[in-house]
């Protein structure tokens, strides 16, 4: 990727404190269209907090965020998905008492065009919409190979599958930017390797830009175009995986030696 490619998402000088502790300090970065962008750093470095800021769960104390040229620092949380950003959560936040299919269909919620009156009567428009939603969800099910668990309750699925279901749900919204919060945690090395293929497929087949917070350096190196390293709430450096891994400060803060 060449460096002057347009930024899909741009954060400038984000800062956030919780009761005196500065969780994020003056962080700026951009995510370019089509790339896989990773954020690495020790636990507590503020990586997930950055995601929560993008996702508008938290209000930044300072700084701005632009997505597709739209200023989004004050957009309400539920509009973020409409703008085209969806995410997964560190410990998965699925709808446990619903089936995998229903979870994916909720992913389609932003594309809802029917109103409640039509839904009460289940008018043909609603039926057509349901079938359209379903066929899109099936596309994602095929892509991520979830056919076997389609009708199972999410709460009863193994952890690894739940992680994949969450990615699938986020994809069902047809996002432009997908945020993955520690996608490999809880997966074994083999599943992690599969995950790296899926991330490549999502990027290549669906054209979705991906930003992820990740610990597993192998995964980060394998799939990322660019990496940002964080420590103590601040961004240390941004660059290619190789550059970042060799950065002396990163070595000191993250790898420990």
């Amino acid at each position: 990727m060449d460096s002057d490619q347009a930024a899909l998402f741009e954060a400038r000088n984000l800062s956030l404190s919780f009761g005196g502790v500065r969780a994020v300090r003056d962080v700026s970065f951009e995510i370019r269209r089509g790339e896989v962008f990773s954020i690495i750093g020790p636990n507590g470095a503020g990586k997930t907090t950055v995601f929560n800021l993008i996702n508008r769960i938290y209000d930044a104390d300072e700084g701005t965020m632009r997505f597709n040229g739209t200023e989004m620092s004050r957009v309400p949380g539920h509009r973020v998905a409409e703008l085209g950003i969806t995410r997964t959560f560190q410990n998965t936040e699925l709808f446990d008492r619903a089936t995998v299919l229903d979870n994916l269909l909720i992913g389609r919620h932003v594309h809802r065009r029917t109103n409640i009156v039509a839904e009460f009567l289940f008018l043909p428009t609603v039926r057509r919409q349901e079938i359209a939603f379903r066929s899109y969800a099936e596309r994602i099910i095929d892509l991520l190979e979830l056919q076997g668990s389609r009708d199972q309750m999410v709460g009863a699925l193994p952890y690894g599958t739940r992680k994949i279901v969450e990615i699938a749900r986020a994809l069902c919204a047809e996002p432009e930017l997908l945020l993955l919060d520690e996608p490999s945690s809880g997966l074994n090395p083999e599943e992690t390797e599969d995950l790296s293929f899926w991330i490549e497929d999502i990027s290549a087949d669906l054209g979705v830009t991906i930003a992820m917070v990740e610990h597993d350096m192998n995964l980060v190196t394998a799939v990322s175009n660019r990496v940002m390293a964080m420590a103590d709430g601040a961004a240390i450096t941004t660059g290619t995986p190789a550059e970042v891994q060799d950065h002396p400060e990163v070595l000191r803060a993250y790898l420990g030696d």
């Binding site: 507590g44 945690s185 809880g186 992690t192 995986p241 420990g256």
Partner: protein
Amino acid sequence: MALLTVRNIETYYGPIMAIRGVSLEVNDGGIVTVLGANGAGKTTVLKTVCGAMDPRKGTVDLDGRDITGLDPNRVAQLGVGHVPEGREVFPFLTVEENLVVGAFSRKRADFSDDLEMVYGYFPALADRRRQPAGFLSGGEQQMLAIGRALMLRPRLMLLDEPSLGLAPTLAREIAGIVARLRSEQRMAILLVEQNARMALDISDYGYVMETGRIVMEDTCERLQNATDIQEFYLGMKDRGVRGRRRWKQRKTWR
């Protein structure tokens, strides 16, 4: 004879099998580490040992006594201190009150000596003994959690990710204290860590877990030299960045 013997335990989260037949041993005065990725089941092993979770199969023996399925407070009374992942101090209690709770299971003994012992290991805590634990920094909370477990005068300490979220210098300091505890307090330690380098440095024996199973065990020197460990846990793998060989249709027999 081993102080702690875990035989073939299987533990479930609801219908999900989190650990599948794990066996391990900790000798008196030894440090044993369990390595593995996030979610491999390491924490579940500790929770099963201390009674917070009941295994559906298998047994846990402490000093020849079957402690499977006992409530965690009973296990604690038998001399097992637990430093849980994420520290889990009591945020609204002061540092000293936290430590007093730590000594709860010991009958009305005079524990001012123990308080001094803890403050000796962690002078930072002594300065803040009247402050609510919630206001401590991450490193201080970790010290408090270890100190709280020490108040039990444990024979076996379960340490869950003590370096989690700490700056590397602090993590090293904690590692040093763990090593000291073994020699000075003569307790056995079962250490769960993601920071494999640190864990292997201070431990005698190590187990490696993947998705709920133990896939490898050996002395720490030999583990440090094993290629798999170097690749996966010590980040020394020399891997091509892009353009790995792969078939578009990946394997689907999972």
